[in-house]
Symmetry: C2
Subunit: 763 residues, 2 copies
């Protein structure tokens, strides 16, 4: 555990220039869904740093690295790529280049304001008898997506100084994780009129994927000194301001940056569009654009804030999660999704994982509006054709959604993941189920969702085989959610979810019209085949232990619990050989339990309890997706200590650098874990059945908590303490809910005591 920032409900604040600069940079990343960047210093930093500027949807198909290529392996490894670095401003004081890695400074404060989405940094620079105060402020606009702004204030406190400020844009950027040390960009255009700009384009590639053109333009407003010259060289454009300052004199530079890409604007219109953004920003002024930006964040928080009383660390954690999620994705563009590192790093590659359906959608359903969260479904529907291509590459029918992708085409490069971790297909279907049950609106399901469900069911129907020796359908050669086992037979989760997909599709096709049947080429024999497979799907169960078996030979292992491991052995993925991990009983993340979470309504409390008691003690939670599932199930089962332990692991994962890898970037897709642990876990919210239900309690460590819910056109506030749960209807029509198994009607306000009797009614 490594905590860089002070505990504060709304802010990350630090007075230290950290040794682990990369970790600090990751945690101070900002973004607006369209673009974002790590917390790099504007003036540069000559020691270890990871400069990262990323634009959503702009990617490159790097060559794959595989030991020995075989048919069905993906052609390329799609990567989020470092784009033109647009924040730099070189600073010279009397010809000395400002560099905090070497210079003497005083009163350093670095602060990320999560309420307003603003990163500030201030310090006093000292050398001999000279003292100069600096204040850097920046944000990526939440109201104008193409706009980022850097504001620098410099004041001489003691002595006189020559000051140069050189805002520039730098296209000489590389990806640290490039497989073959190749550059991904070519320079296309650059100039200084109407404003300094640089246009770059991703290189031609042998896979024929889309190339992206990106134009970065800056409009600099200066007060206190004057422009002296400008410089244009390879992949670099600057403006240079210079002047003399006496004690007390102040300089202010505002760098308005616009970033335009070929994803939205055709190449020939880039300069015009980029200039418009700059001009509007200049007209609006620093204070104006800042105001608009803050207002947008106010709106978001108003719909989504979670308040925790009695535990500021938890409070800070949950807000950091929400802040970073909204900085990564707010549903503006159905071609985008929630990448594992967002705009905070480049590890993992790809933009979209099954994390979206497993973790992101369930939270976004409640904290954003329909226009936002529905984009996540539209994204998958738009990539249905590519899912058919993925299946065909394996010689299979139907639709196979990718494990990792930008375009819908699989782009990861380990066979044991790529075409074995096929359970992701079920998560896509479950996302549709989740959306439909939450909103109560079946129109998406019946018009678009069914296309996906049919594609997925056709995949399962082709991917299973009939085992003559067992007279049942089986699924061999899979990797379940537990990636610490590969290429297993009959993963209970995969088989169970596949059967569920077939059933859900069958239920749904009963509701669609004749036209849709024809369009989808459905026939009764096909549906009958799905029923036959689902009803005769093999699902390994141990009679003796009365648990579901993770996969065919799991119980043959040498079973041990995590508490038999030495602390020096953990995390096992940093200390054990892959051979030992694969053969061990240790589980990376919820596997059988993931099924009990997804299909929570289909299993008894006893089934959940027995399986939780059997599997959780063997689970090392070395995936960021693991704790939230266990926290929610633990809450449901009354294991409140375990629930809180798991909550803490997910909510402050990055702030406390639990997994010792946050320097590579934040764990964006699991950022919803804290929220889900509170709302689905502590508050016990469920929406799978017809009514919104709650079984709330307050963790011992807290005095209380409250959260907001967008639910079917309403805005609810839910407040929970140790005695009482209170519901406030802030917007919308009255609502029937089920609280502790009893139906209540919420008009404006309703409260239910939390007591033993209520809780026991559930058992």
């Amino acid at each position: 555990m490594e905590r860089l920032f002070e505990i504060n409900p709304w802010k990350l604040t630090s007075n230290k220039l950290e040794k682990n600069k990369r970790l600090q940079e990751s945690l101070t990343s900002i973004g607006n869904g369209y673009m974002g960047l790590r917390g790099n210093f504007e003036e540069g930093y000559s020691k270890d740093t990871h400069i990262g500027t990323y634009i959503a949807g702009v990617w490159f198909p790097d060559k794959t690295k595989v030991g020995w290529w075989k048919i069905g392996y993906p052609d390329y490894f799609g990567k989020v790529i470092n784009a033109t670095n647009f924040i730099p401003v070189d600073v010279y004081i009397n010809d000395h280049k400002l560099d905090l890695s070497k210079d003497q400074i005083d009163q350093f404060v670095l602060e990320l304001d999560m309420k307003q989405g603003i990163l500030t940094r201030s310090f006093i620079w000292e050398k001999n008898d000279l003292r100069v105060a600096f204040r850097f402020t920046r944000f990526v606009s939440a109201s104008v997506k193409e706009l980022a702004v850097v504001n620098i204030k410099v004041q001489v406190i003691k002595g006189n100084a020559q000051l140069s400020l050189i805002p520039f844009m730098d296209g000489n950027v590389v990806n640290e994780d490039s497989n073959y040390q190749e550059s991904f960009w070519d320079e296309i255009n650059k100039g200084s009129s109407p404003y300094p700009f640089l246009t770059t384009r991703t290189k031609e590639n042998p896979f024929g994927t889309e190339q992206f053109t990106v134009t970065t333009m800056m409009g600099n407003q200066i007060k206190g000194i004057r422009k002296q010259r400008e410089q244009i060289k390879s992949m670099y454009v600057d403006e240079q301001f210079h002047g003399s300052l006496s004690v007390g004199e102040e300089v202010e530079l505002t760098k308005f940056i616009s970033v335009i890409t070929s994803r939205d604007v055709s190449d020939q219109d880039h300069i015009e569009k980029a200039s418009q953004v700059i001009e509007l920003a200049i007209a609006n002024g620093w204070e104006g654009v800042l105001h608009d930006h803050k207002e947008e964040w106010d709106d978001r928080w108003n719909n989504a804030d979670v308040i925790i009383t009695g535990d500021d660390a938890s409070q800070q954690g949950i807000r950091f999660n929400i802040f970073q999620l909204f900085s990564t994705y707010y549903g503006e563009d159905p071609r985008l999704n929630v990448g594992p590192k967002g705009f905070t790093g480049e590890k993992y590659g790809g933009a979209t994982y099954w994390d979206t359906e497993a973790c992101i959608l369930p939270m976004y359903l409640s904290v954003t509006n329909e226009e936002t969260f529905k984009q996540l479904l539209v994204y998958r529907h738009n990539q249905l054709d590519e899912a058919y291509v993925n299946a065909k590459k394996q010689g299979l029918e139907g639709a196979l959604y990718p494990m990792v992708t930008f375009t819908g085409i699989e782009c990861h490069n380990e066979w044991e993941i790529t075409f074995e971790e096929i359970h992701r297909n079920a998560a896509i279907a479950h996302g549709i189920f989740n959306y439909t049950t939450y909103t109560g609106n079946e129109s998406y399901l019946l018009k678009q969702g069914i296309d996906i469900l049919v594609g997925i069911s056709r995949f399962w129907a082709n991917r299973v085989h009939y085992s003559e020796s067992n007279k049942q359908y089986m699924i061999h050669g899979v990797t379940g959610p537990n990636e610490y086992e590969n290429n297993v037979s009959n993963n209970w989760y995969t088989n169970t979810m596949a059967a569920w997909c077939l059933d859900y599709t069958r239920e749904t096709v009963d509701k669609i019209g004749e036209d849709k049947w024809v369009e989808l080429g459905l026939s009764n024999p096909e549906i009958e085949n799905w029923r036959e497979i689902s009803q005769n799907m093999y699902r390994p169960i141990s009679e003796e232990l009365d648990v579901f078996i993770q996969h065919d030979t799991f119980l043959d292992k040498e079973l041990r619990t995590v508490d038999t491991l030495e602390p020096t052995e953990r995390p096992i993925n940093q200390n054990w050989s892959w051979d030992k991990i694969l053969r061990s009983p240790f589980i990376k993340q919820a596997d059988v339990l993931q099924g009990l979470y997804f299909l929570n309504h289909m299993f008894t409390r006893e089934e959940k309890e027995r399986n939780f008691n059997f599997y959780e003690p063997m689970t090392v939670h070395e995936s960021s997706l693991s704790p939230l599932v266990h926290s929610i199930l633990a809450s449901e089962l009354g294991k409140t200590d375990k629930a809180f332990e798991m909550y803490e692991r997910t909510a402050r994962l990055d702030l406390d650098n639990y997994n010792n890898d946050t320097e590579d970037g934040l764990h964006i897709t699991s950022m919803s874990g804290g929220w889900l642990s509170i709302v689905h876990g502590f508050a016990g919210m469920r929406t799978y059945t017809k009514e919104l239900t709650f079984t709330p309690y307050c963790p011992d460590h807290w005095q209380g908590y409250e959260f907001k819910l967008n639910y079917r056109g309403r805005l609810l506030k839910v407040k929970v303490n140790h005695q009482l749960v209170e519901f406030y209807l802030e917007k919308g029509d009255p609502l029937n809910m089920v609280v502790f198994n009893r139906t209540v009607t919420l008009k404006e306000y309703h409260s239910v005591p939390i007591n033993k009797r209520n809780a026991e009614d559930l058992l």
Copy 2:
């Protein structure tokens, strides 16, 4: 099937300049165990060609390619590397550079003489009124390992010509399979005195493995024209000869090449040693060195030739196999082994596979002498420490021999092979068993072999786990010989061979002295533990089908036989996705049957028959190691058609380009397949029990066959036709043998009729 060369018992002859030049180059490769090269043309070739010159034991640790590195993955991918190209002789006729890819030629003959180990090429070059005859002859000396010789005769047949001959050495060579397009060599030295030479060294590498220095020197003898100049430039040294020729005049150039490496000679002595080799060769002269070379080949053939009557294609095939094997390895150096491509290509990387014990040793035991074949065992003993390192890298005890290696350290880069295909350990132990039963001499076993056996047994004892639910020992997470399944549980072959290793080690430790017990740190509890594991090893068996089960869930598959595949689907590894292959029942190579072959004496005929009948129809034989095992078992089971079909697949695999991949190089390690199919298969030779036994028959396609055997100090000739098997004792003491279950004594000659009664006695 693609046959480039005419059928001829002792030669490969062709009058065609092939379009598939790479295939022709592979098939005309020559070598002498120390070095070798592909059949590249001396004068160069401007169209597609794969220039390859290789020196045994000279390798480079290329960076691995893996999707995501995990603990236990190998650090590097060791590769056979292309070394200084030493055969080139540029030829100019009236300033026209000779290039057969463009020039007009007549009477082209390319011939590899397998009896003498000589490659010749002749043609008449024509342009306008000029006709010039060329004859190139070359060999890599079988008597002086550091020596290669090229002889060129040129005669003007019509017209007058200016002729230039420019013999040179070229260090600007690359590996086509370099993972990162990196060069592996630096130039160290070059010069023209006392003879032109070039010294190169493999680059420094981050893995700290040995760097190799190689000096290549040439001494050119010329008749008919004169030296004009010489040229030395980067990685290049030549001598240039020039003169005018009138009609009928002849020129002869002999290029003596010596190749010295830091493996044998310290760097500062390279020039001296290289010069000595050249001087001796020059003193001996072209005819002299050629004579010595031929004599050595005569000796080899005298011990190893196989004669087949009635089928010249088979005859040519078996001789090609023996020729290429002896060109690759004749046991001069215990640091060397038999690489998968020998000196004929660079695919696969590594020098040593389990092929050595599975295929090479069983043949070398019979066709070479003890000094030669014992080196293969010494090699493994010398690498025992590294085997312990390999195990330790996986967090395991004992010795894990590598799947692919140069030094004993694992150097392949697919986890599913590297640390899952651990059955190779059993093959190493089986090699010791094979050697000991064949020679009848236990001294190696008891002094050195036991070190290996103990290391291997310690590995197995640690690698198994006790399955509480089954009350048996199991081995999870393996890949069996059938590489079309990965990461399976309880591969019957692996479990059976592991138990056999433990038993064989226990038997052996009973025979060693107290000192060795102490040296090896043995204790009775350890031996008792091995017994406990072996006796309680789980070996999957189907009661219902009465067969051994390939691995735990094999019978749950959708079982189909190969004849249900469409021809267009085969080979499946070029037509099916890896996903489909892994889940299919199709078997790449003998798996259960490999066990019945290795432990042939431990299973009943009925067991062999049932398992052969069950598994062979599902086997696609897409490994070159597969047909020989099936041919031998089929012979044993009286399935003579199947035995011959499998023989043909192995014996002319490369000559007929069965697998359509010989252009990358020859399948060296499976070259013993033809010989083993004849001797262990058709002749039914066994040596596992105390006596040499035979159960011979002659395939219908042949009139007869004969082969030689070195056996315990004797040289036997065995002749088989449809009526009779005849034994000739060519050297050594009289011998008791078992022929058709009856003991006979061979003094000088003995014959046994082959008839129904004899054959039935075996059942």
